[in-house]
Every structure is written in structure tokens, then in C-alpha cells.
Symmetry: C2
Subunit: 256 residues, 2 copies
Amino acid sequence: MNPGFSVYGVATGLLEPGDDIVGRVIAAVGDTEAERICDRDILLFAESPLSTTEGRNIRLADITPGENARALAEKYDLDPRIAEIVIAESDEILGGIPGFLLAARGNLVLPNAGVDESNAPDGWVTRLPEDADASAARIRREIRERTGKEVAVIIIDSRTHAMRLGVSGVAIGCSGILPITDERGRPDLFGHELQVTRRAIADSLASTAELLMGEADEGVPVVLVRGYPYTFAENATIESIAPDEDLFLGSLTKKV
Amino acid sequence: MNPGFSVYGVATGLLEPGDDIVGRVIAAVGDTEAERICDRDILLFAESPLSTTEGRNIRLADITPGENARALAEKYDLDPRIAEIVIAESDEILGGIPGFLLAARGNLVLPNAGVDESNAPDGWVTRLPEDADASAARIRREIRERTGKEVAVIIIDSRTHAMRLGVSGVAIGCSGILPITDERGRPDLFGHELQVTRRAIADSLASTAELLMGEADEGVPVVLVRGYPYTFAENATIESIAPDEDLFLGSLTKKV
């Protein structure tokens, strides 16, 4: 077989506001010769425990919903305080189904703009990191400072896909890795030039990490990928597609 | 670190109509103690080389486009013969952008219903396997008969995601593995019951495999995943969501 790559869960235990997530990860990876963090490792962080350590959790009792939030909450059957937070976290509300608003936020289209009651204390919700690229860059720098190793860092979330049951992964920020590779112009098996294909490497790595993270009480907020031959990039942003060039949004029109 | 799993590319070389894909995979995996196929391995097959061996390629010169195909081809700027094949391969055409129709086919919403000029000889197109679950079941049975090993088989394709640049993976058929796990009712880190979460294990494994397959001239049509603790299921279908319960399609309306 071709040389491959390996994927490991990093069990830090429960992370709380202000916790040193990098220190917890270094300790959990271990310090044996075989286990310590290596150059070219990729470390993937679930957004919710990371943003918890960054102080991004918010208490519902502190929120006063405005008129727009109350109207959306009524229409889509959700807590008006959550609707208020979702609006604040979104660039645009695109629509909804009962319990969820479909929101655009930076390079993402996602339910409730990532605002989530799961994995938060009662009466609190988690939000996405304020700037996931900045979080990734900070973590990467701290790992370099503390271990001397050059790694890639990806911040990930769960996502659903049109008409598919179940969640897989999506990259919401990264540092030290080219998240999307461009193969246009390369030949296919028959020597034709490939027309369309850019590969969402960071998203596929996010789904790989999701396989070990789970969504429930596993306590595996970080996954380490070793041996995958990624392309280095100091600070490459994860690009999105303009809505009118997008096959999904370009094919359909908004209801709201 | 927690025990993890490993991912290997299986380079069979170019596959042609009628080729024995299972024999080529067994040979390419190798027969050393360390490398031969093991019980509980997961083998992921790219749909295009698989369907090529199944005789699913079709010659454009043999196609006479009908009125509907000619109208869609005019509207969305594609070859009317391809539009004709896409219609035949689809349950419903949902819309389009220049060069592509957005099609519903079984449990998938995908561009051109999987009809593709890449990786086919000049003047031919590839189509998805006629019944990818049946293909997966056949491959799994043949591997059992020839090696005595019980593996899981997943047939995969590339997919784009709303507003995201680049492709990742999607499972279009499987055998011997539960493709979607249901975690509703399990506790989260704070003991709340999880409300929504089903995990698209097969889709996440498909994205993992995409990392080694690529889309160009790599000649890696199969990926082997070893050590991932999946749930066995003899014949579990990959379920889709009804459009009105779906966050994407339920939030938006059709243009056509």
C-alpha cells in the first residue's frame, strides 16, 4: 500500500473558561518519543471547547431580544434570546426551519450561526470563536514556543449538508496549512485538463477529526493527524463562493 | 494519545471497462503480514473508476437530446447530450448554474447527477454506479470469498457544499457498516440530552479517503482505513432528509 497517515484523539477532559488549552493538549498528547508533538503534525480543535476557554460563552439571562429577534423567534419557534444572539453573530439571516435559523457568517452558511446550547452549562450558550483564523494562529504560535515544533492548526465545527442526515466536519479557521488546493489545469487520467476541481483539504481533515471527536460526552476536543502531506501556508484564509456562483444558493432563491 | 486509526491509498493503476476491480485491489494492498486486508478494514471506492469497470460509461455520440434537455442546455450553457443523460440519471432537476444542473438522485443532491467528462476517454462520460449499495454489497462479498476477511465497503463521490470552495467526500452507497449513528438521547458534557445529533460517519470517512485520492492523475481509486471502531450493519441504507425538513432546501425555494 501507499504510505498513509494516522489519526489520534487527544482527550483533554472538560475545558472551562480561561483554561490553558494548549498546555492541556501538550500534556494529553504525551511526552514519550513516539507520542510527543512532531513537526508537520496537524492539530484540529473543536470550536466549542476552544471558544469556551476563550470566554465566548454567554448567559441567556443577560440578553434582551429586540423586535427582529422576537419576530424570527415566533416564526421559527426558538428562544427569542437565542435569536438575538444569532442575529448578532451573523452577517445575514437567510431563512430557517423550526428551531433553527440559516445564517451566513464569514465563510460559512450554518444553523444558528454556531450558537449552541449543547456542551454549555444550563442557561448558557456557546458561540463560535470570534476570529477562528486568529485563534488558530495563536495556538500554532504557542505550540511552537512551548515545544519547538512547527504544526498546522485547524479550528473545526460540525455541519449538515443539503438533504443529508447526520453531521460531518467543516474548517472555520486555520494556520500553517493551505486549506484549499487548486488542481485546475492538471491532467486527469486521460490527459484532459481538469476544469473545476479545487479540493477542500481543511474541510476533509475536519471530517476526519469528527470521526474521533463525536458530539456527546467523549471529551475529545482535539484530534492529531500525523503523516498527511499537506501544503504549508503561513496564513491562508478559507475562501467562500459568491452566492450567485454557488450551485446551491445560485440555483435557489431565498424565502425571507 | 487515544488509540487512533490509519488511512492508506491503494494504487491500482488505471481501471477499464470489465476489469476485476476487487482482484486489482487485493493485489495492490499486498500480501505481506502487515499489509494484507484484515477483518474490520474499511475499503472506500471512488465511484468513477468503479462505475467504469461496471460498464457505466456512455458515448455522447449515441445520445439524441430531447426537447427538455435542449431547453435546459440552452438555459444553463451545457452540451444538450449531457443534459439528456443528466435528466435520465436524475429523479428531479432542482436548478442550475452555467455548466451544471443541480439534480436530486436517490439520497443525493449533486451537480449533473454525477455525469462527468473527467476521467473518461474523449467523447465519453462517466455515470454513477446504477445502485451503489448493490455495488458495495457485491465487492464486500467478493472480498470475503477471496480473502476470508469481513470488511466494510463504502462507495464515494466528491461533493461541493453551499458557499464553500473546493470538494470533499460523500458516501453514495455502503455495505457492512452503519453509515449514520444516532446520538440523540445521549448526554453532552454537562449531562443535557443531545437533541439533534446524528453523525454522518460514512460521509466523514468519504472525506478522509478524498484526502488521498485526489481528483487528477493520482491513480488511487481506493483507500483503506484500518482501526476505526465503526458499527457493523449488514445492509444499512444512507438516509436522506425530506426537503421540507431540510435546513438548506427547506429555507429556500426553487427557481425552476
